[in-house]
């Protein structure tokens, strides 16, 4: 069978990334231009600044990727683009570039949902096997998605308010860790002991999550300790928060695996790098006997590679878009 080369473009938040992937599983070349140092000064991603930097970067990243792969647009079979969800002004830059390339080089345009990208990051490591549960955890998402075949997504549940990664960053700010504080909080948690009492959120029968209450509980706790003149033990607070945040995810994963008779669980998104979550997921996989797949860190953050990988399976299932494709800030995965 002829090989298929997909060019994937991702610009949904603060990373401009382009990648070429062969047959949905072999990474040929990837370039990521991150704006993390720019937004650090503002304590979080500023949408207008992100859009401005995507415009500056887009053709540079495209050029570097093609030259790294030693390819031209003639070698590309189709162009995959993140159309949403994400920051609308950021998404638009990748979208307009993708549509323009598809037009002038007469290539199919494949719309890829950002979450589908995170899920298919796993197919760069190992072929997906079904029935599968995708645990998508990042700064923008916390979702449980059941898959019984390629490109068939059934969302079981998701966060009702903040994403887990967002909650990590906000709690990190309470204890004065520099943005993005999530990973730093994870490190502190490994030093500390869970001595502070925090409530496990949304202990119900749904597959949903809620993190805003937990965030408020941490803020109140810090405030109360200060009022009492007690010094806050940052390591212990980090450990206490992490224990509860991870537990609330694990509880729902466990329920979904049992209810849906899941054989494979994949973890995707930036928070997949979280040490506490990894440990507990591994424990759960031994307890329930499912295969666990957590992609290497480089595929967990936003990148064009996962978009190209998902794009391959979308393309094979006949999903292409016309030039009227628009970016959307929020959209259900289907």
């Amino acid at each position: 069978m002829k090989d298929t080369y997909i060019l994937g473009i991702e610009s949904s938040c603060d990373e401009t990334s382009v990648s070429i992937v062969k047959n949905g599983k072999e990474e040929i070349a990837t370039v990521i231009s991150s704006q993390i140092d720019i937004h650090k000064d503002f304590g979080g991603v500023v949408p207008e600044i992100a859009s401005r930097n995507h415009v500056k970067n887009i053709t540079l990243v495209l050029e570097e990727c093609l030259s790294k792969a030693n390819m031209t647009m003639d070698n590309i079979d189709a162009i995959a683009i993140t159309y949403g969800p994400g920051l609308i002004g950021s998404l638009l830059i990748g979208l307009e570039a993708a549509k323009t390339l598809a037009f002038i080089h007469n290539k199919p345009l494949i719309p890829v949902h950002h979450i589908a990208g995170h899920i298919y990051a796993n197919s760069l490591v190992k072929e997906l096997t079904f029935p599968l549960l995708a645990v998508v955890v990042s700064g923008g998402h916390t979702e449980l998605i059941e898959m019984r075949d390629h490109y068939k997504f059934n969302k079981l549940g998701g966060t009702l308010d903040d994403a887990v990664g967002e909650c990590y960053d906000k709690v990190a700010r309470v204890i004065n860790l520099e943005y993005p504080g999530g990973p730093k909080l994870d490190k502190l948690a490994h030093i500390g002991k869970p001595t502070y009492k925090l409530p496990v959120p949304l202990k119900d029968d749904s597959y949903n999550f809620s993190f805003s209450g937990l965030k408020s509980a941490v803020i109140n706790l810090a405030h109360n300790e200060e009022q009492r003149g007690n010094e806050l033990n940052k390591e212990n607070l980090a450990a206490s928060f992490q224990k509860v945040a991870v537990k609330s995810i694990i509880n729902k994963v466990k329920k979904a695996v049992i209810d849906k008779n899941i054989k494979t669980v994949i973890v995707a998104g930036g928070v997949a790098a979280n040490g506490g979550l990894r440990e507990e997921m591994e424990k759960l996989s031994r307890e329930l006997g499912f295969n666990l797949s957590i992609p290497p860190m480089k595929y967990c953050t936003d990148n064009g590679t996962m978009i190209a990988a998902a794009g391959y399976y979308a393309y094979k299932s006949g999903r292409t878009a016309d030039y009227y494709l628009n970016s959307v800030s929020s959209e259900k995965l289907n």
Binding site: F42, I49, S51, V55, T59, M73, E96, T100, L101, F103
Partner: protein
């Protein structure tokens, strides 16, 4: 020589193709908040209905602002991707120059775009089309003062701005392209919007 013109700096898409002083085709359409969806397919439709191969374009002239931030980015991204990918010359002009050139007046030209909160994006050009005040994000009151020294001028705007005699803007794409067709081209990677204004986040940081 075939030149593609693109301006998406307002709620309108203005695009056209000029060849040897002839306007082959043009599109002028308003899209409220949906420019990102329609800009490229409209351009595609213009090429297809006139049987023009996208690879036959020799140069691109694109408007890099001022105007709607999102709007400018749409046109710039299409234009720079196009020029970079086909390795063709590209140059930028301002929306205010395009407005000045589209007027038939023989007075001083004052093209203006509403920038909200008592500000406009504006410039002043002489009757000989020389730049008197370079494109600026300027308080209306300050602009008024600058206009006091000028006898006879015409404001060109599609916005609700009252600074004397005015006419509305309808781009004369052929004239604009002819005027700038020999303007020096720049590296597509360096083709970027010129917003004339920092983001609010940057401004409040400066004021800290």
């Amino acid at each position: 020589m075939r030149i593609l013109y693109i301006d998406t700096s307002s709620s309108f898409l203005y695009t056209g193709i000029v060849e040897e002083s002839n306007l082959l085709c043009e599109v002028k359409k308003e899209y409220n908040h949906e420019l990102s969806k329609y800009a490229l397919p409209e351009i595609v439709e213009m090429f297809e209905s006139n049987n023009i191969d996208p690879k036959s374009i020799d140069k691109i002239i694109v408007v890099n602002g001022p105007g709607s931030f999102t709007g400018i980015r749409i046109g710039i991204t299409i234009a720079k991707t196009y020029a970079w990918s086909l390795n063709i010359p590209i140059t930028t002009i301002t929306s205010l120059e395009a407005m000045m050139l589209s007027s038939n007046s023989n007075k001083y030209y004052v093209p203006l775009i509403d920038a909200r909160r008592d500000y406009v994006f504006g410039a002043i050009y002489s009757d000989k089309k020389e730049q008197i005040l370079k494109p600026k994000h300027i308080k209306i009151e300050d602009l008024k003062q600058k206009l006091e020294d000028i006898d006879d001028y015409i404001v060109i705007t599609n916005d609700d701005i009252d600074l004397g005699e005015k006419e509305s803007y309808d781009p004369d794409i052929l004239t604009i392209v002819e005027y700038f067709k020999d303007k020096e081209s720049i590296n597509p990677h360096a083709v970027n919007p010129d917003y004339l204004k920092l983001t609010e986040a940057e401004e409040s940081k400066l004021n800290d």
